[in-house]
Amino acid sequence: MKYSEITIRFCGIAGDGIVASGKIFAGACANIGLHVMVNNIYSAEIRGMGKSSATIRFSTSKLYSMGDGLDLLVGMEAKESIIDLRDVKEEGNVFYDTSTIGDVEEEDSLVSHITPEMQGHGLPIQKLANEATGTNQGKNLVTIGAICYFYSLPPEMFVDQIRSVFAHKGEHVIDVNIKAFNLGYEYFKEHYPLNNQFEFDKTSEPMALTSGNDAIAKGALDCGLKFYAGYPITPATKIMEIAAKELPKLGGWTLQMEDEIAAIGAVLGAWFAGKRAMTATSGPGLSLMCEMINLSVMAEIPTVIVNVQRGGPSTGLPTKVEQGDLNIALYGGAGDSPRVVMAPTDSEECYSGIQLAFDIAEKYQTPVIFLSDLFLGQRIETVTIKENIDRDRCTRKKPTSEQLEDFQRYQITDDGVSPLIVPGKPGAVFSTTGLEHSIKGNPNYEEEVHSMMTAKRFRKFESIVEDLPHAVILGDETADIGIAGWGSTIGSILEGMELAREQGVKTKLIKSIMIHPQRENLFRKFFASCKKIIVPEMNYQGQYAALLKSRYGIKPIEIHIPAVNPVSPLKIAQKIMEANSELSQ
């Protein structure tokens, strides 16, 4: 068979080198110019027999999601792999370990569960690993060697990668891992005929690899981040670790605080002092931050909060994805409390979007909540990062010398934005407060003042729209079926649309990083041109659909997936087909 795209899963338990397999595979693919996306799934427990899997999808063309189904399941451990057999495509392949078959009852062995629709291929994974490394390590490299031969991939792509991944561990480790790789390769060459061919352009340029979390951290550092305060939480911690390492080199600093309230408090303090600052958290942390978000709104102190969503509510599912924090991002907190909510749809938007978040926060003196999610945050993918971002598009509104003479921190203006000064500079001083206040910032509870100030705080959101990127419409503009989505679900939607197109059904998609505020005219025009509107998202309530319904008065077909895994493109395609058959009735 000839392939231009393959999906492989390594399935085992913690300690099998699963994560390393994904890393080696991703690096090897990126180096030879293939598009690749890797999704690691692991349990919330660090030790013990926790399941660990790495799914690697690589292709000659751009990937938007993890797709559906596996071309190959590599069973490093029988019990967990048996469960994952359900994900193997028809005619798909399974590698199983022949050296451990006798260790378990027949019904517990992987090979006994392989159905006639699949093709099983045995190899002595553990035995070959022992032979290469003298330990139980190296099982992953044995299977990578076998895969390399199985799909007739060039061995150098992996050998080079092994050298670079294990470079810090010394020559011996590199040698034994290459040996393990070669043993797997040779075993397959000896025992199986070469039936498959992955075809690709061997002259492609290498591609950059990133995760969403890495892209957010890099984007923030590249646009002047000077201070980070946070509290460790899965799946956002990586952003803090990068900030902790890089900020001191750039004249900044990272503080690990005692809780998320302190983290966002310190971030507000740093912004008050005039420095770009951020924190990153997940649902439980965002819950704790709501009162500080209110203070940011009331005192008009800029803030950037990244929320890498995981399954909820409460401690929920720390290592599983869900888009359940839209409501708290939009509405969490007391009073009339407007804030900007953004949701990047892929790693490239994590990089550019976080920079927009900083610019909006600074210009409009508002909290910006940047909603990523576990899948987007942790998956590794090949990207083309555009670094030519206009640094002057948004600037802090500074007072004129006249305004400084009788400085009014909360001066009423047409766009709602008042001049802002920071400590340490001569000119004027002011005090601010979370209490309702006068134009000077002094506490004031008069009805006219409260109405005027509330209106001013909301007026900023009309002004922000001017600085927002336009939503984009993808797919076929003449289609009757329109889809609106947000965040990482967009990737699955795009692939679902492609599957529908292959069945002759045209669709279009409106995609925007902005959840609130939005350029509403574009959305209205888009919805008006649709006969059916579909809104898929990874939560039970349909939180984005609820927002769109109240904002635009639409009645969409909602797809609510309280997710633990990224959304299946096939599921989206099925809904599109259903909508299409309703249309033609």
């Binding site: 503080l255 309230i261 303090g269 001083v429 005090s431």
Partner: protein, 282 residues
């Protein structure tokens, strides 16, 4: 305690307007006449004047409560934030801009009640902040409920049968948390309050001033008179480098000592940060 006459208030204001600290005075305080907090505020004015802190570099951060209003009465930058969260906000300001003088002002409910989780970490990190805790052993702004420093047995709106919990002692907490400057003052002693606040701001590292600052309206148990009976100055021979000795003196309730309990010169947070950054440049 009787309230002050109208004339004495006017006289006081006129005196204030002419005072040498006028450069740091802003809005007139809104506290009840006789409130202990006037002394703390006066102390901060005097410290700012003595140390010639330019208002543009002076940042006062407060929480919520009667003490929370400090920023509005001081010419400088001010942030009246959230209940209990003044310390983390101040931390962000100071770490982002170490050249600023940052003073945190809070009350007993604010500092060892709702915000009690932040105090130890600021102290152990030795952030270069000054924290003034104005302790009136009552929730005054909500009109009289027991606080974490109220004595056992104290009756209040929310403890009608008497306070069952034992009071916290903020001075001993600061010592236990590793603060590098720990003092206790009583708002009846204006000069001592001013002097110790000044020295606290001068200190490089986390400095803590526990100011006993009676509420003359809602607290009938902890009063000027009751404190007057028990407060004494620390013995002259007290060694301010001896933390455990400071701890046992700070624990004493009869008498209640005032003065500088502890002071040590060790690298502050800013010094450590500088060291890390200098190392990266090599």
């Amino acid at each position: 305690m009787s309230f002050l006459s109208k004339q004495s208030v006017i006289d006081g204001l006129n005196k204030a307007k002419a005072s040498k600290t006028k450069e740091w005075r802003d809005n007139l305080p809104t506290w009840c006449p006789g409130c202990g907090h006037f002394t703390g505020l006066h102390g901060l004015y005097e410290a700012a004047e003595k140390l010639k802190i330019p208002p543009k570099d002076f940042v006062v951060v407060s929480g919520i409560g009667c003490s929370g209003r400090f920023p509005f009465f001081i010419k400088g930058f001010g942030l009246h934030g959230l209940h209990g969260r003044a310390i983390p906000i101040a931390t962000g300001i100071k770490v982002a801009s170490p050249e600023l003088t940052v003073v945190v002002v809070g009350g007993d409910g604010d500092g060892v009640g709702i915000g009690g989780g932040h105090f130890p970490h600021a102290a152990r990190s030795n952030f270069n902040l000054t924290y003034i805790l104005l302790d009136n052993s009552i929730y005054g702004l909500t009109k009289g409920q027991v606080s974490p420093t109220s004595p056992m047995g104290m009756k209040s709106g929310t403890s009608p049968y008497g306070n069952i919990a034992r009071p916290l002692n903020p001075t001993t907490l600061a010592l236990a948390y590793g603060a590098t400057f720990v003092a206790r003052t009583f708002s009846r002693e204006r000069d001592m309050v001013s002097e110790l606040i000044t020295r606290a701001i001068q200190h490089k590292g986390f400095s803590f001033v526990h100011d006993l600052s009676p509420c003359v309206v809602f607290n009938k148990d902890v009063t000027y008179n009751s404190l007057n009976d028990v407060t004494v100055k620390l013995p002259d021979e007290h060694d301010t480098l001896n933390r455990s000795n400071a701890m046992s003196l700070a624990e004493s309730t009869e008498p209640v000592y005032q003065g500088l309990f502890f002071k040590e010169e060790i690298p502050s947070f800013d010094d450590h940060v500088k060291q890390v950054k200098d190392g990266l440049e090599d």
